[in-house]
């Protein structure tokens, strides 16, 4: 009998009814994050059936996907600055939260922001919790040792009504990441390299646990970047065992337990890491000692190369050819020097203080190239406020970049922040799918450092060159 993994400990702690024969487990959810895009149909379901929200106290609501990133000081502004359909959806969210008794971090809240940024920021995200959201990047919260995954709107309705979900136990995958990261290479490069290695379907059916000294060396924001893109490797959830870094991050946050409850919680959290003899269904190793900054060249995150490499030779695969054709790139072409039109720093992947500090540090004393529009969008209003207190916005705007209100923004272009057709955007977001940032838009995924290097050079460039400046 082998020991238990972090995942198994959290899984077993939330079984209201275990799996049996044909029937899936009834699985309890500790934190339900909701936003305006994937909830209207779920609230409709509750209304149709005359149901209440079972645990408004375990429901954290905000607006992020279709919200404008220009200032909205009062709701009346919405019709002016937002798309009509988006404005309607935002109003529906406000109305639904009011009707069902859920506190909403709306335009008047200093805590509004991307749902995967504010959960951790408020301390609502905690080790050992089960966390879901109608958003696939819910995997972000796994950085704290929570079991967190994305669900569809029907399941959002299930959680609103019952605080439970029907679940089958997934398989587990250990991803051991070791070595010391070279300068100029970061968490984003780790996860891009991993997806390149396992493929965009490598994790289907599995929950990943990220382990190893390279993971231990990351701060919480960097760990969130890694866990965030777990879904891009096909796995719904990615977890990192809680340690002193986790506890230090959470201490003093508004929604964590207080006093003696805090001590008890810390003791429980530190008992969660996988037992030494825990079994995993699959094991993957990645050494990052010689890792280079990574950039994508195609239309999924698995189509990725070191920035100094060329695009691989044409494999003859239908999707490969279609991707390069869409991107306006050729097999065998070097990535360095590819002209860039737009640079986006933001999204639930890379919009936290670590990312903005690095962006400002590298932009300091430099200018965004004249052919490039650069947009920097903080992950939350609270991140924005902290960044401004440190003067980061002054450096960013002095370099010629735009500094915005928080939101998902140009990651998926739902709020009017779009990349024009045929234009190439180096983006710190998570998806380079066709049309993701706007119809016909071309996306190159990269770290904040690589994004800055591209903005300054006006073409894809190696961020390591900026370090010696």
């Amino acid at each position: 009998m082998s020991g238990k993994s972090l995942f198994e400990k959290v899984w077993e702690d939330h079984l209201v009814v275990p799996e049996s024969g044909d029937n899936p487990a009834v699985f309890f959810i500790d934190l339900h994050l909701i936003h305006e895009v994937t909830t209207p149909q779920a609230f409709n379901l509750l209304r149709e059936r005359g149901l209440k929200v079972r645990r408004p106290d375990l429901t954290l609501a905000t607006m992020d996907h279709s919200t404008p990133t220009v200032p909205v000081s009062r709701l009346g502004d919405l019709e002016v600055v937002a798309e009509p359909e988006a404005a309607k959806q935002i109003r529906a969210m406000i109305e639904n939260c009011r009707e069902f008794g859920i506190d909403l971090h709306g335009f008047d809240s200093e805590h509004r922001g991307i749902v995967h940024v504010i959960g951790p920021e408020l301390g609502a995200t905690q080790p050992g919790k089960t966390i879901v959201c109608g958003d696939s990047h819910s995997s972000t919260h796994g950085a704290f040792g929570a079991l967190a995954f994305g669900i569809g709107s029907t399941e959002v309705g299930h959680v609103l009504a019952t605080q439970t979900l029907l679940q089958r136990k997934p398989k587990t995958m250990a991803v051991n990441i070791n070595g010391t990261l070279p300068d100029g290479v970061g968490a984003k490069d780790i996860i891009l390299a991993l997806i390149g290695k396992i493929g965009v379907d490598g994790g289907v059916g599995h929950v990943i646990e990220y382990r190893g000294d390279a993971i231990r060396a990351l701060n919480m924001e960097q760990r969130m970047t890694v866990c965030n893109m777990t879904i891009e490797g096909g796995a719904r959830a990615g977890m990192i065992a809680p340690d002193d870094t986790t506890i230090e991050y959470l201490a003093g946050r508004p929604m964590v337990p207080q006093g003696a409850d805090w001590d008890a919680a810390v003791e429980r959290w530190l008992s969660l890491p996988s037992d030494p003899d825990a079994h995993f269904d699959k094991v993957v190793d990645l050494d990052v000692s010689n890792l280079a900054p990574m950039v994508t060249f195609g239309t999924n995150p698995g189509m990725v190369v070191p920035v100094t490499d060329s695009i691989p030779a044409d494999s003859g695969d239908l999707s490969f050819g279609k991707a390069l054709n869409y991107m306006g790139l050729k097999a065998g072409q070097p990535m360095l020097g590819t002209p860039v039109d737009v640079v986006f720093v933001g999204s639930c992947t890379n919009s936290r203080m670590t990312d903005l500090r690095q962006t400002a540090e590298l932009l300091k004393g430099r200018k965004v190239a004249s052919n490039v529009r650069m947009l920097v969008v903080p992950g939350s209003q609270s991140v924005k406020q902290r960044a401004e207190a440190e003067g980061l916005h002054d450096i960013i705007t002095a370099a010629g970049a735009e500094w915005r209100e928080s939101g998902c923004s140009m990651c998926l272009g739902m709020n009017g922040d779009v990349v024009p057709a045929g234009k190439l955007c180096v983006s710190t977001s998570n998806r380079n799918f066709e049309g993701r940032q706007g119809v016909g838009a071309r996306t190159v995924l990269a770290s904040p450092a690589t994004a800055v290097a591209a903005a300054v050079a006006g073409s894809i460039a190696d961020p390591r060159a900026l370090l010696t400046h």
Partner: protein
């Protein structure tokens, strides 16, 4: 949700691998607050040109596609975003089953809640289906089988619970609501409170 026991239909084939839910349902259509009418928007950026005219050689625009209930797609169909608008759009278009060698986890979950049967087949059967668009196939939910025109019949994985939900046309919320007492007991008896 309508009951689904057996689907007999000609296939529509999209051979690309890793078709993500941003292709199935682009983000600009997610501002809707209901589920209806999304069939028009399914694969919008592949289906229509810049002026909004149908792209002539796109499979969903071929004669007969509108009557098809079975979509055959390349490996790892439905990856990416959790948007349930993707299966809503496919079902609204008329599809009742999707066949591939692998279907992404969240998409699969969402599909099963909307009467869209996810059918996983091996590489050989998949290859034949990709090579023969428009083939008349049968997806039998009772038997959990896919039958090809030449009579070959293969089983596909479908857990008993999901199968029952498809056959009876029920969603799972009723099942969860009936567990109310157990949920209350769990909430009261757990050793820590979230």
């Amino acid at each position: 949700m309508e009951k689904i026991t057996r689907i007999e239909s000609a296939t529509v084939v999209l051979p690309m691998t890793d078709i993500d839910t941003d292709q199935i349902m682009p983000a600009r259509y997610l501002t809707t607050t209901n589920k209806e009418g999304l069939g028009e928007a399914a694969f919008a950026d592949w289906r229509y040109d810049k002026s909004g005219k149908p792209v002539a050689d796109f499979p969903l625009n071929q004669p007969g596609a509108a009557d098809s209930q079975v979509l055959v797609a390349g490996n790892n169909f439905g990856c990416g975003s959790s948007r349930e608008h993707a299966p809503w759009g496919l079902v609204d278009f008329g599809f009742r089953a999707v066949i591939s060698t692998q279907i992404a986890d969240i998409f699969r979950n969402n599909a099963l809640k909307n009467g869209l049967v996810p059918v996983i087949v091996d590489g050989e059967i998949h290859g034949w289906l990709l090579d023969n668009p428009g083939a008349q196939v049968a997806v039998d939910v009772v038997e959990r089988t896919l039958t090809l025109p030449d009579g070959r019949s293969v089983e596909f994985p479908l857990d008993g619970f999901s199968r029952t939900c498809l056959l009876e046309g029920v969603d799972q919320l009723g099942y969860l609501l009936a567990r109310d007492e157990q949920i209350t007991r769990f909430e009261q008896q757990r050793t820590w409170q979230p």
